[in-house]
Each structure stands twice: as structure tokens, then as C-alpha cells.
């Protein structure tokens, strides 16, 4: 195992580790936001426009699919109160 592979593999495994830690602390949606920022901008060196589009789209798609269509609530931790208005809206339709 060379130094280079250790870095490449370590970054990926480490970023998932921190994604999970962050999920416990601030909830999955905010964690996803930072995970994408880190991976797209600092690992992938993509443009800001792509990074921001993905940061906005991915959590929204995940939310719509899981919470709304499949009724599977994902862990939200302390960010839970932020979602109350969205739930109100969702269940009032």
C-alpha cells in the first residue's frame, strides 16, 4: 500500500466517517450539505456553480424521496425543529 493510495482511500473513508458523525450531531441534511461541499469543491475541484447546484439539489431530492414519497424519516438530530414547517406543509396538502 503506497502513500498515494492511502491518501486517496483515506479521504473517501474519512469523509464518510465524518458524514456519519455530523449526522449524529446536526442531522443528515445539514451533514449532506457539508459532505458535498467538501467532496465536490476540495477533493474534486469542481466549479462553484456545480458545487452549489449539487448542494441544493441532493438534500432536496433525498428529502422528497424518503420523507415525502416513502415516509421514511431520516435522522435529523438537533435540526429537527427546522423541519416542522415543511412537515406542516407536506401534511396539509
Amino acid at each position: 500500500m503506497t502513500r498515494e493510495t492511502l491518501v486517496v482511500v483515506g479521504i473517501s473513508a474519512g469523509s464518510i466517517f465524518f458524514l456519519l458523525v455530523a449526522t449524529h450531531l446536526v442531522g443528515i441534511y445539514i451533514a449532506l450539505f457539508f459532505f458535498l461541499l467538501f467532496y465536490l469543491k476540495f477533493v474534486g475541484r469542481h466549479s462553484w456553480s456545480l458545487t452549489i447546484t449539487m448542494m441544493a439539489l441532493v438534500p432536496v431530492i433525498v428529502f422528497c424521496l424518503f420523507e415525502w414519497a416513502l415516509k421514511i424519516p431520516l435522522p435529523k438530530s438537533i435540526s429537527e425543529p427546522l423541519f416542522y414547517p415543511i412537515y406542516d406543509l407536506m401534511y396539509s396538502i
Binding site: 473517501s12 477533493v43 416513502l70
Partner: protein, 496 residues
């Protein structure tokens, strides 16, 4: 024939198309399978007549069977539990730039599997149901032993490493509550999360989603992920012509899948794994399995589709569900006011034959949808690695969370991912571990039931004809490599 006519009625046809599309989507999402789709959409069906309702749910069931293959091949994450075996060869094929071939093979094999099973269903429903009932725990255990043996014998992989991998899977399968005494086993002191056992999807997503991704990163250093695939009508036709390479294993896999599907509590996942083992056993080049053999994609896909039809058989004829999804369908039938059992064929023939007709139409509809969308699925692979990788990780995390909805399982998945990566690096085959964690609980239950019934006497496995045949074939398969080794050595010394 009346069934087919009923299935092509405009309302039912629409139900089929919507159901297949939803099924494809749900099947392609890691962690969610036909069970989730059928369970979530069951209430919707109370608005329409029972025949249309079951047609809708059957279409979802079928669509999900196909959908699982899409993410297995393009992303390397098993989309549904039934598509775990599709990853074994589908992923290497995609990495070699043949994703289109693998997707076509999956679609065509699923279609063949579906067709064969519908024919078997139509012709032999009542006698097969009676035969399946003869399959007691003894026979079931013998069948499981046979499935393990197909992975050990004749396999191209290192045998001790394969056995080690199977044992890891079996140990993980033993975690949780003891099935007979209810005692907690292997729960690492007192960690609550282990009480419900290790969900095999967590292992499969971890190993194939995260572990495989880390491995790809190491081999490519994050530069290129997969070769570009160009799609054209001519290429599509040539892909379709590949069919002769896997038609044999597909047919065999379909018949096996259908039969395993009819056994109560077996279902499509064990069927697809067994079919994969069988394809490997009968192949001229067992070494090429796991490295991108097209038959390795076709066999499990044919089997899981055939099994999904097969598991409808005990549900309709006996009222015993053959899989978790059919258990929900059975619940639906009761709510719709239909009583499953032998009388259903005479009391509600329109329902039964409408269902069978719709299975066939659903099969055809998903084939067309799949072939049409292959270019789109293949496009996913041409995305830059640094965009695809985080999306795959996110899918793994939410997919690992969805089945049990505990963070414990997501952490476990990450752990399995890293361990899977290391095993891969050390050249251990990981597929046998997945097989073992799926079949482990089934094998344990049938073994213990048998031994309780026979008061601990093992000879029962050899006195009952079906189980004796299965065990003997299994023993032959296990000892074949030893024998081959011995013969090779003798030939060599003879030459000297």
C-alpha cells in the same frame, strides 16, 4: 387467454405501465426493494377493483426485480436484495466498458426468466404446489448445503479463502436472537443494535457500495472510473445477439429460480444466489466468474424474476407467502375480500388468470422500458468520478439506513465497507460471505427444525430421498477439487 385479454384492458394496461415504472425506480434505489414499494402503495389499490389492484402491485414487484439490476451494474451497489448476485459480474463488466452488454443481458434474461416461469405457472400450478409442500425442513437444509457447495466446488477462487469467506458470513448470520431459545447471541457485550441481527443488505451495500468504491479508487487513483460506452442501434442488436452465450444458464436459472420461489420462505434472493452458483458450476470457464462473465449477470436475473412469479404460486394456491413481498400481497388479497387457497382458482378465475396474464404483460413492458433506457443508464457511468463517488456514498448511507432505520446499521455498513476493501485487497472472494449471510438463517432454522424432529439423529438427511440426492451432489461438488488435484498430481508424477 381470458387472462391476457383482461390484462390488456386500458385501465389494467395503464396500471401495468405505471407500476413497472415505479417498480424500476424503487428497485434501483439501494436499500429499497419490491417489499417497500408494494407496502407503501398497497393503500392506493383500495380505490380500484381487486384485479386491477393486484395487477398494479404485481407490476411493481416485477419492475423492482429489473430495477435492482440497474444500480447493481452501473453503480455497483445492489439496488435490491434480489440483485446482490448481479453485482458479482455486472460491476466488473461495467468497469471494462461493457455496461450496455450487462444491462441488455439483465433485461433479456429477466424476460426469459419471467416467460419460463409464467409458462410453468400456467401449466403446472396445482401439482407444483403439492410438490413444494413435500419440501420439509430436511429437504430445505439439503438444498442450502447444495447452494454452499456450488460456491466451493469448481469455483475458480482459492478454496480455503472461499470457505473462510462463507464462515464470516455464517458468523454474521448468527448474530442476534437465537431462533429457537430466544437467547441473544454474539451481541458484543450488550449493544442493542445487534439484537435484531446483521441485516444482510447492510453487509451487501457496505461491501459492494463502499468497499468496491474504495477499491476502484485505489486501482484508478480517482482518475477514470469506467470506459466510455457509445450506444447505437447496431450495437444494441449485436448485444441482443450475445444471447446465445447465456441462453443455457438462463433457462436453467429460470427453472431453478421458479422452483426455489415456490418454496415457502425461500424467495428471490436465495434463488438468484443459487442460480449464480449453478451457472458457475456448469460453465466451461468457472474462473471467469466474478471477473465479468455475462452468464454471471444473466443467471441471477433470470432466477430472481422466475422466483417472483414462483412465489405467487404458494400464495394463490395454498395461501402461504413465498417471500416478504407476497406476504404483503396476501394481506392485500384478504382486504380486497378474496380468500387465497385452492378454491380461488374456481371461485375467482378472472382474478387468478388476470394476474397471470398481467405478469406476462408486465414482463414485456419492463423489457421494453429497460432496453429503451439503457443509453440513459450508461450515461451515468460517464460522469466524472468526483461527482459519482459522493452520490454513491450518499446512496449507500441512506440505503443502509432505510431498511431498519437505525444509525447503528449505517456505522456497521461503513465498517463492512472498509473490511470488504481489505478483503478485496488480500484477494478474498466476498460473494460467498453475502451468500452465507442470506442462506445462513434459512439453513440454521431448517437444520434445527429437522434435528428437533428427529431427536438429534443426523441420518434423516440420508434416508429421505430428495435430501439424500441433494447432499450427495453437494458432497461430490465439494470433493471434486480435491479429486482433481490428486489426479493432476498423479498425472504429473506419471509423466516424470
Amino acid at each position: 387467454m381470458g387472462g391476457l385479454a383482461q390484462a390488456v384492458e386500458p385501465v389494467n394496461l395503464m396500471m401495468i405501465v405505471i407500476g413497472c415504472a415505479l417498480g424500476l425506480l424503487i428497485g434501483a434505489m439501494p436499500g429499497l426493494g419490491s417489499v417497500n414499494g408494494v407496502a407503501i402503495l398497497l393503500p392506493v389499490t383500495f380505490l380500484v377493483p381487486p384485479t386491477s389492484a393486484i395487477i398494479f402491485l404485481a407490476a411493481i414487484y416485477y419492475g423492482a426485480m429489473y430495477g435492482g439490476a440497474i444500480s447493481s451494474i452501473t453503480l455497483g451497489i445492489p439496488g435490491a436484495s434480489t440483485a446482490v448476485a448481479t453485482v458479482f459480474d455486472g460491476r466488473p463488466l461495467a468497469q471494462q466498458g461493457h455496461a450496455d452488454k450487462a444491462l441488455t443481458a439483465a433485461a433479456v434474461a429477466s424476460f426469459i426468466g419471467g416467460t419460463i416461469s409464467v409458462i410453468l405457472f400456467t401449466l403446472f400450478a396445482p401439482p407444483l404446489a403439492a410438490f413444494a409442500l413435500k419440501f420439509g425442513p430436511t429437504e430445505e437444509f439439503a438444498l442450502m448445503v447444495l447452494a454452499f457447495a456450488t460456491f466451493i466446488g469448481l469455483g475458480g477462487d482459492d478454496i480455503p479463502k472461499t470457505v473462510f469467506s462463507i464462515l464470516i458470513g455464517l458468523v454474521l448470520a448468527a448474530v442476534g436472537l437465537d431462533i429457537i431459545s430466544g437467547q441473544p447471541r454474539l451481541i458484543f457485550g450488550n449493544i442493542d443494535g445487534f439484537l435484531h441481527g446483521v441485516n444482510f443488505l447492510v453487509l451487501a451495500i457496505g461491501i459492494y457500495g463502499i468497499g468496491e468504491m474504495l477499491w476502484t479508487l485505489e486501482t484508478t487513483k480517482g482518475k477514470v472510473l469506467v470506459h466510455k460506452v457509445t450506444m447505437s442501434v447496431r450495437k444494441m442488436l449485436s448485444n441482443l445477439r450475445d444471447i446465445k452465450k447465456y441462453i443455457g444458464t438462463t433457462t436453467l436459472g429460470s427453472v431453478l429460480g421458479y422452483f426455489v420461489g415456490t418454496l415457502p420462505a425461500a424467495g428471490a434472493t436465495p434463488a438468484s444466489l443459487m442460480s449464480y452458483g449453478l451457472a458457475k458450476t456448469f460453465s466451461d470457464k468457472p474462473d471467469s466468474f466474478g471477473k465479468g462473465n455475462i452468464a454471471g449477470v444473466a443467471a441471477p436475473e433470470a432466477a430472481n424474476n422466475a422466483a417472483s412469479t414462483g412465489s405467487m404460486l404458494p400464495m394463490i394456491t395454498l395461501g402461504i407467502p413465498g417471500s416478504p413481498t407476497t406476504a404483503i400481497l396476501l394481506g392485500g388479497m384478504i382486504i380486497w375480500g378474496l380468500r387465497p387457497g385452492p378454491l380461488l382458482f374456481t371461485e375467482h378465475p378472472d382474478f387468478v388468470w388476470g394476474l397471470i396474464g398481467s405478469l406476462y404483460i408486465a414482463n414485456f413492458a419492463t423489457l421494453l422500458m429497460n432496453l429503451a433506457f439503457i443509453p440513459l443508464f450508461v450515461k451515468v457511468l460517464t460522469l466524472p468520478f468526483t461527482i459519482l463517488a459522493p452520490v454513491i456514498y450518499i446512496l449507500c448511507v441512506v440505503g443502509g439506513y432505510a431498511p431498519t432505520q437505525t444509525m447503528h446499521d449505517v456505522w456497521l455498513m461503513l465498517l463492512f465497507g472498509v473490511v470488504g476493501y481489505l478483503l478485496r485487497k488480500l484477494n478474498y472472494p466476498v460473494a460467498p460471505a453475502v451468500l452465507a449471510i442470506v442462506l445462513g438463517p434459512l439453513a440454521e432454522r431448517s437444520l434445527r427444525q429437522t434435528l428437533i424432529g428427529s431427536h438429534g439423529d443426523v441420518s434423516i438427511f440420508f434416508t429421505r430421498p430428495i435430501s439424500a440426492i441433494c447432499i450427495l451432489i453437494a458432497l461430490a461438488l465439494i470433493f471434486y477439487p480435491v479429486f482433481k488435484n490428486f489426479r493432476n498430481r498423479r498425472n504429473k508424477s506419471g509423466d516424470n
